[in-house]
Each structure stands twice: as structure tokens, then as C-alpha cells.
Symmetry: C2
Subunit: 247 residues, 2 copies
């Protein structure tokens, strides 16, 4: 989620988390990172989100954030364990960077790492370390946004050549969404309407919980709502969002 005002994701997360063991098979862990200013708070658990007490709190307790990255895991590389649970976070240039991944990357672990080391054993976290390593080696100091976006596009494209690699990446300001096989997004703004979740019997009237200036984009592997039009990101495409808007 990317928004221009601090926004909660209780509605979207309530749908997504059901895919973690009830309406979907991604029952090997769940995690969510909320940015608040330069800080972020993270909830992680190496178990089915649909049945988690902590995930229930996150659905009910509105944490307001301009960027949120959430993930539900179906393990392939790396056992079910906390250290293998997405999203992963590292510091670069005094910023919290967050990475969530869906896919499989053949041979990624042969790449040399310099600054960042994986803590767990997933190909995903290794790939994240490699991306940040590559960015940092090229830019010891933070470059302009334009230059950074070009480099990130190049690196995520290179990752995708190793297999399947749908990525959500954020530095707390921009949200990068790279589609390898499946990613959709929707931008909601005034006039707001009603939305109904696909995975849960829940409806929200966004007009009642927003102001006319709000712009909120939600990105997901598959659309979370039934009655709205979601845009599909094409394979090989990177979309970058800032303050809820596609840039």
C-alpha cells in the first residue's frame, strides 16, 4: 500500500491474511511492515496468518501508515522459520529498506555479497541482500530518485532472469512493484465507493473513512476486491508509487 496520508490497511489485510491458510495455501508464515516516518514496525510469524492471534490484532488495530508491505509465505527454498519469514528489512543510507518476494531464483546464492548477509536461508532474502549490495556499491551516497529507479529496474530485471521474481520493495518513501508473473494494483481516490473483499464476507464504504484529498494505492498478487477494477502489471514491468500515485 502506498498513500498520500497515513492510512490503515485493516480492510485489505483482512482479505489477504485469509489466503494464509483458508482461501489460499500461503500458510508458512506472514509478515507486515508499517512505515511511520523513518521508522517501521514489523509483525512476523512463521505460521498460518489466517489463524494467528497477532494477525487478528493487526486486522483490528488501525495502524496508520503511508507505506505498508505485507506478505504471506508458501515455503519453497528455506524451512518454515522466523528468519525465513518475509518481509525482510535492512538499513541503507540511514533508511529502512523492506523487501517481499514471491517466486524462485535459481543460482542467486552464487552471487558475491559485500555489505549485507542473509540471516535465513531463503533465496528471497539472499536476493534482497544482493540488490542492496549492488545499489550500495554503485552509490555509497544516495543518488537522485530518477537514477535510483533506473538502477533498481535493472537489478530487478536481472533477478527475474533467474526464474520467477515478483517483488515489493520500499525505502519508506517509494514503493517499487516488479511483476514477474502476477501483480495487480488499484488506486482509490475521490469519489470513493464501496468495496467488497473476495476472501472474506466484508464490505467497506471508503467514502465514510476517507477525505476527498486521499489517494491510496493497493498492490497485490491477485485483486483483493470483487467489485472494483484492478490494473494488471505486465510481466517484466516495474511500477513505482509515491504518495499513493503511480510515478
Amino acid at each position: 500500500m502506498s498513500a498520500n496520508v497515513p492510512t490503515d490497511v485493516c480492510f485489505s489485510f483482512s482479505g489477504l491474511i485469509r489466503r494464509g491458510g483458508v482461501t489460499g495455501p500461503h500458510k508458512d508464515g506472514w509478515g507486515i511492515v508499517f512505515y511511520e516516518g523513518k521508522g517501521c514496525r514489523t509483525f512476523l510469524e512463521p505460521k498460518a496468518g489466517a489463524y494467528s492471534e497477532i494477525a487478528r490484532l493487526v486486522q483490528e488495530y488501525p495502524i496508520k501508515s503511508k507505506i505498508v508491505v505485507a506478505h504471506i509465505r508458501r515455503a519453497n527454498v528455506g524451512v518454515v522459520a522466523l528468519e525465513n519469514t518475509h518481509p525482510f528489512t535492512r538499513e541503507l543510507w540511514g533508511e529502512n529498506w523492506t523487501f517481499a518476494h514471491n517466486g524462485r531464483l535459481i543460482g542467486i546464492k552464487k552471487r558475491k555479497l559485500n555489505y549485507y548477509r542473509p540471516i535465513g536461508t531463503t533465496d528471497s532474502e539472499y536476493a534482497f541482500c544482493w540488490v542492496l549490495d549492488s545499489v550500495r556499491r554503485r552509490f555509497p551516497l544516495k543518488p537522485s530518485g530518477k537514477v535510483l529507479i533506473l538502477l533498481i529496474k535493472k537489478l530487478l530485471t536481472e533477478l527475474n532472469e533467474l526464474g520467477i521474481s515478483n517483488v515489493l520493495l520500499s525505502d519508506g518513501t517509494r514503493l517499487y512493484a516488479y511483476c514477474s508473473t502476477s501483480l495487480s494494483w488499484i488506486t482509490r481516490k475521490a469519489p470513493f465507493g464501496k468495496a467488497t473483499l473476495i476472501d472474506k464476507d466484508l464490505q467497506v464504504d471508503f467514502q465514510k473513512v476517507t477525505s476527498t484529498k486521499d489517494v491510496v494505492t493497493v498492490i497485490a498478487t491477485k485483486p483483493l476486491t470483487a467489485n472494483e477494477h484492478w490494473e494488471v502489471i505486465s510481466p517484466g514491468e516495474l511500477k513505482v508509487f509515491l504518495d499513493g500515485q503511480l510515478i
Copy 2:
């Protein structure tokens, strides 16, 4: 907390968190890091822990861990904000390192940093980055425990020369406790007894919730229980705990 078996800290945390706004003035944030294997899960909030719904969940939901680092904040350097909330975490040698600090460090921000950058504006996080930077510069690869402990002692002593610096530091295996002005600890093992919190009307019979092999050490700025004997760490002393035991 350091233990030889995964142990929850519901009892101790219930006492500590009351000092975050009710029985103590540390109402500017609270945080807790639970290690589980190489991973860790962190709960952070830039508000009074005593009145936090998430802190209440953490008191009631037993998360079992061999090492836990918790902190309640009374802000001096750095505004009340999520990025200034302890404990801080960074990766070194593919391990999660965690740092919680109580004190004030004059001039720390003049020190050069190479690998790690602070995200917030506290002297504490800057000091943590400086410690890890110094360790990493000296040891690009992980050294033996003995050598590492000596270096950490040297660095924490150097920090303390800048003012006041009570520190809890962990790599997920060892728990380092450096006393500048105030730190106490207690090791509980068989035969276990009953304990009563100082800050809350709560008693626990450890015999009912432990096995005879369990060894659990709790370290705190001030003792958390009224009816047990806590050891006081002398100013300038570093104590290192492994699997619940002082080493």
C-alpha cells in the same frame, strides 16, 4: 532475559511495562525483541507502554525465546518517534544484533561511521552503529567468542566514558549487559520458588511453569520482584550471559 530453553517473559514484562507511564516515567516509547533461532520479532511503539494495546497482547501471549531484550524509553536526545524507539536492530555476519540503551552520550555523533548509519536521531542508535562499525572493521569475519567479548567490553567502556551508558546488547546467542550506573540481575533455577512483582499486584510460582533443568536470567535497571535477591552489577562492569548462565 537469557535462558537455556525457550521461555516466555510475560511475568517480567508485565512489571517492566508498568514503569512506562504508571509506576515509572519512561512513557516515551517501548519495545521488545524476541529471538527465535536466528530470526527475531520486534514490537515497537512510540508511546506509553503501560497504556498500549499491543503491549497488553505481548503480556498475555506467551512468545517463547532464549533471548529477549526489552526497553522503555524516557526521551532525552531525539524526539518521541518510532525511529527513535529502542531496541535497535542491525545485521552483522548474518546475525541479528540488538541494542537497548539507557543514558546520555556526549559527542558520540562526531565519530565516523562506515558500514552502519542511524535511522533516527538518538545518541543511543548512533552509539549502536558505532559499536557495530568498530566490531566489523576489526573483524570482517566473526571471531571466537572470547576475542569478541574482549572487544565489546573495550567498546562499551569507551562509550561509558562519554557520559552514562547502561547497555543491553545481543547477537541472539549471548546477552551482554554493561552497567554504567544501574543494572541488576537474577538467575532462577531449580528449586524454583514464588516471585512477586514490585510494579504490579502479580505473583507467579515458577515451579509450576518450569522444568528442573531450566535456567533463566533476568536483567533490569532495577529489580522487578520484591521477594527475591537480585545481584547488582558494578559500574564499569560487563556481564555476559549464555543459555541463562553468567559466563
